[in-house]
Amino acid sequence: MKPLPLAMRIGILGLTCAIIVLIALMTSGANPAEVMTALLTDTFRSPTAFADTLKRFCPYMILGVAVFWALRAGLFNIGVEGQFLMGGMAGTVVALQIGGLGGVILGALAGTLVGALWALPAAWIRAYRGGHEVISTIMLNMIAFQLSNHLVSGPIMDPEAGFPTTKTLPPESMLSGIQIGDVNVNWALGLGIGIVVAFGWWLRRTVAGYELSVTGANSTAGAFAGIDVRRTTFSALMASGAVAGLGGGLQAVAFEGRFFMGFSTGYGFDALGVAILAGSNPLGIIPSAFAYGLLQQGALAVQTLHVPPGIATLILSLLVILFSAFRYAKVRHSNG
């Protein structure tokens, strides 16, 4: 079968995606233009909506780095969701125990450590036993989900609360922020942007970053050039887990102030999309994470028009598919 020209193939896919979104908009029972406006602009409607978007923007950014890190080494860390959950739970427990600024710092560190630990089986199985990291991290996600739900509805649950949650951190034991206009910008956001920039620098300017990219691009060539591919693979997954755990710890001490059932609204799974939409430059994570936060905020807003929130997920999934088809086609095209 002769392949169609690139532009035509992408055009067909794009058109299909557009038609699906249009059908959804037309059948939703609301005015399509109003739905789109709500989806795209609700973030800017009020300071509260903007603050809520920032609360999602931050973990999307940090988890985006976690996924990107592994992706550069040719690895899919589907496990960021589990690492985020475990990190968030560990961070909350530590911050509750210690309190104050020390609690904030140690809580974030505990999250980082537990996130890395949660990635350890997957990293070891991948690097030294040859088992696929996608499968092992899916298993680890399911275990993290069960374990955190179990602990938060028993051992670490606040006995006075009516539903599975820990005690809430007092304001002085949480990471604060600066007030810009009506919006409180948490320091965690600065930290998140710092992590993205530092990671981008590390990837481009250090030997370790270069080894990571080479391993991802062609591990056989890397091995010939003297790179320890197993070690690089192992440390890439561990680092990815650590960053995801830090994201969880920060979410707990900066935004949520507690751990509860439903702590993650699927941040880890969305982060896979964030990393793919970011393209080949790590700095792309920032706009892509913001777009995710914005559309998820819009998903809440469309419900006031009696449109199900799933429409945002539907649009995002089609964007990811379309973008990855375009990107892979582009790469293959340029390779000849």
Binding site: L13, M142, L147, P309, S317, I321
Partner: protein, 280 residues
């Protein structure tokens, strides 16, 4: 009474996992990584409930459900084969799409006052028995099955012997769609109505069973039998002590995943994936 419900649940979960895992097996043995079992099941569950309720015909409902799962399966085929999208990315995209789309469809179109129409559950047990037998026969005795295995092991070599991998994989994914669709329809039949994320990760348990069973029909069926027993045990023993120990439900729910992880680490009998998995 209690023992009887254990057996019923065990059979139910075996059928749900078994149908999905066999679907995954057809896809993966043909060389296409499939983490989108969950999405196909979710979509089929939703469409079966919707069309069955609206048309009043359970057969129409099931057919539409299967068609929707096949459509998702074919999207996976087109994306991985024509657009060369990474199999994991495509699978993840399809799972996400199914999650969003079913939430949208269920809340927009499914009216709670319309009574649901489902086929009787024994029908699905028949399907499971048939598909285990047929897939075993196909992989060991039939030309089509051997061709599928050849494509999965080495698509280039298969091509030189005149097999068209693209076509073989198309049919493999149609079968995968049908089997995952049956599994999803059974889930919604068992629960009585559709709700958000109704499949609750069963597609991933099926994936685990597929790996633990080493991508072979009978072993996969055995792995499903074992995993289903854990899930039934979790309902049975909820809160009650087992051999003097108080085991939380989370333990039973995590057991299939723990066992798969341990198996992957090579501590109990290692299994080998089809060597052409993920190759073009």
């Amino acid at each position: 009474m209690g023992d009887l419900s254990f057996v019923t649940n065990w059979g139910m979960f075996t059928a749900i996992l078994g149908l999905a895992a066999l679907g995954g097996m057809f896809s993966e043995r043909s060389g296409i990584v499939n983490i989108a079992l969950e999405g196909k099941m979710l979509m089929a569950a939703c469409i079966t409930a919707l069309v069955g309720g609206v048309s009043g015909s359970p057969i129409l409902g099931l057919s539409a459900g299967l068609a929707s799962a096949v459509l998702l399966s074919l999207s996976h085929w087109a994306l991985t084969q024509f657009y060369q999208v990474d199999h994991i990315v495509s699978g993840m995209g399809i799972n996400l799409f199914a999650y969003g789309a079913t939430n949208f469809i269920a809340l927009t179109f499914i009216k709670p006052e319309v009574p649901n129409q489902f086929l009787p559950i024994p029908f699905y047990f028949g399907c499971l028995a048939l598909s285990i037998g047929a897939s075993w026969f196909m992989f060991s005795r039939m030309r089509a099955g051997l061709r599928l295995l050849a494509v999965g092991e080495n698509p280039d070599k298969a091509r030189t012997t005149g097999i068209e991998p693209l076509q073989v994989r198309l049919w493999a994914l149609v079968l995968a769609g049908i089997l995952c669709g049956l599994s999803g329809s059974l889930i919604v039949t068992n629960s009585g109505s559709f709700g958000d994320n109704l499949t609750a990760g069963r597609g991933f348990i099926a994936l685990a069973a597929l790996i633990l069973g080493g991508w072979r029909p009978l072993s996969v069926a055995l792995a499903c039998l074992a995993f289903a027993a854990f899930e039934a045990a979790q309902i049975q023993f909820q809160g009650a002590p087992v051999l003097g120990y108080q085991l939380p439900a989370a333990f039973w729910k995590s057991l299939p995943f723990l066992i798969t992880l341990i198996a992957m680490a090579g501590l109990v009998g290692r299994t080998k994936a089809p060597s052409g998995l993920g190759k073009i």
